[in-house]
Each structure stands twice: as structure tokens, then as C-alpha cells.
Symmetry: C2
Subunit: 149 residues, 2 copies
DNA sequence: AAAATACTTGACAAATTTGCTCAGGTATTT
DNA sequence: AAATACCTGAGCAAATTTGTCAAGTATTTT
């Protein structure tokens, strides 16, 4: 349950590769494709969204590619996933109040989904591309998160 | 992103209704259907799984229905969702190690998905049907979880 | 100017998953 | 025997996912 689509997975992995070029070297989709084994055509679709969202900027022509629009520590995994897959919304009612359960007085479970969603969001907004670049820091972070849970 | 399917949502809501009959009164699917606005046919499909998993027992004949197989405080939301939607597995590689990213030395992101999955699981295993029956306790619980996050 | 590189856009299609319904059966009680 | 209610498996339409493809535009190099 709760599977992340490949859009999100590939998107994060692509952003990781692009982050490795920060701050000077643009990373081409060809390079990302080679390193992460995802087709260029699919990456184009994903990076287009991320560019329009302002997470990356593109550089055309030979030697071009994509560059982070800001430092890796200011780009969270959550912000990437939100662009590619929309906001965290375990149920329809969390996203759109009009879509709540009918015939139920004060649905009990909605409280639950809302709370879990917030926790997930909080986690994803805490981890950034900088953490992916420094695996040691990531392991520390992950350990900390695991303890507090 | 990360939408919970209606199987899981309806399943939890159905279990909530069945929990209200605990420990004596069997709750029929007809009653669950009426209260939660879900078709009996669909509920039969879901409850069949939950019965085979040992979460509920069925009582046939007039006045029959479903009964929790153990006290509500010993049935977690996670255990219900696991039966209906499979284990928490944000990516294929978390569930099946053979399905990891190819051409990537020690995939960085897998660490992330694994950690988030654990947090989600931990949350879902903490909340039980008893919490849903006592909304006050649930609110307390949710607040506590939110703080520790 | 021509060639090469690489991003940009939109359409489209196969595969999968979701969200059910339906028909026919079994067990239990009245 | 009739009524209630669980039980099983098949089947199916709609939505979503997971991509591909074609035809561009912009930039740099030769
Ligand atoms: S209103 Fe959202 S689950 Fe009931
Ligand atoms: S191995 Fe699972 S995301 Fe790479």
C-alpha cells in the first residue's frame, strides 16, 4: 500500500544527479539517463514540470543541461514530489472537503488520515537534496527520525 | 500522492462499525452499508479478506454478521490495511530486493523510502480500533504523534 | 551558414490498477 | 420451507500509470 509512482521515484533520482553538478556544471538528461537507467523521453516529461515549478533552470545547447535553481539544502524531497505527484492526500476528503463521506456524522477516520498525512509531509519536507549528497548526514538524519517516531 | 485506495478506507470504516458491536452483537454488512454508504457486495469482498486473515469472525443466519476476533485495542489500523492493500512499500525495491535500481551503486534514495515506510508503519500500528471508538483518546494520541514528529 | 547538442511541447497508447457489480452458492434460524 | 446473511469467483468499465514519439526551438561550435 501507499506506493510511490515511478514519476516521483525517478524525479528524485534525477534531481539527485542534477544536484551533483551544483553549482556550476549543468547536467544533461543524457547523463542522468545513463546513470539512472531511465529513458531521456520520460525524463524530459518530468524535468519539464520541475523546471516550470522553478526547482531547476535549463541551459540549452552543447554542454547544456539542468542546474538547481537554488542550493541543494533548500530543495526538499517533498517539494520535488509535490510537483510530480501533487500534494500528500491519503483520502479525497483531505484534499477536497466537499468529498467527505456521506451519511456519516463527523467521520472518525478522517482525523487519522489527516494526521498521518501531516507526519509524512513533515518528514519529506525535512530531508533535502543536500542530505542525499552526504549519505553520512542522511543516515544520521534517518536515525534521528526513526527514534522520535 | 500516496493515496490510500477505497479498499483500505472502506475497510477501516467497516471495521469501525463492527467494533461498535463488540463484544456481543454481530454487525451485518447490511447495517455497515447503511451507515457508511458502501455497497454490500463490495463490503463482502473486503470482509472476506479480513475474516480469512483472522481479524473478524462471521456469524451466519438471521441476526448474524461479523464480530471482532479480539478486543478492539488489539486490532491496529495497520493490520487492517496490510490485509487489504499489502504491506507498506513505497517502492518496489523495498518489498523485493531483486527489483532495485539497476546501474546504480548503492542507491541513495532507497534509504529514504525505507525510513519513511517504517515511520508510516509505526504510526499505523500504534493506532487501534479502540482509539477510533474513543475519539477523545484519539485526539490525544494524534496530538502526541504530531509533537514527536 | 551548417551541424551538432540539448531542451520543449503535446499527443497518444499499452499496461496496470481501481472500484466496483453480478450470479450463484452455503449455513443458520424461525 | 422461508428468510436472513455470509461466501466465492468471475468479470468489467473507468481511471491511472508508465511510458513513447514526433516535431519543434534555442545555443554553441566549426
Ligand atoms: S470524511 Fe474522509 S474518510 Fe470520512
Ligand atoms: S534501489 Fe530502490 S530506489 Fe533505488
Amino acid at each position: 500500500m501507499l506506493r510511490l509512482s515511478t514519476r516521483g521515484q525517478y524525479g528524485v533520482r534525477a534531481m539527485f544527479e542534477i544536484a551533483r553538478g551544483w553549482p556550476h556544471r549543468p547536467v544533461s538528461l543524457k547523463e542522468v539517463s545513463r546513470r539512472q537507467d531511465v529513458s531521456v523521453a520520460y525524463l524530459e516529461q518530468l524535468l519539464g514540470k520541475l523546471r516550470r515549478a522553478g526547482l531547476v533552470v535549463s541551459v540549452k545547447g552543447p554542454g547544456g543541461g539542468y542546474l538547481l535553481s537554488r542550493p541543494p539544502e533548500r530543495i526538499s524531497i517533498g517539494s520535488i514530489l509535490k510537483e510530480l505527484e501533487g500534494p500528500v492526500a491519503l483520502t479525497a476528503c483531505v484534499q477536497d472537503p466537499r468529498k467527505g463521506c456521506v451519511r456519516v456524522e463527523g467521520c472518525v477516520t478522517s482525523l487519522l488520515w489527516r494526521a498521518l498525512g501531516q507526519r509524512i509531509e513533515q518528514f519529506l519536507d525535512t530531508i533535502t537534496l543536500a542530505d542525499l549528497l552526504n549519505t553520512n548526514a542522511l543516515r544520521r538524519q534517518v536515525r534521528k527520525e526513526a527514534q522520535s517516531a
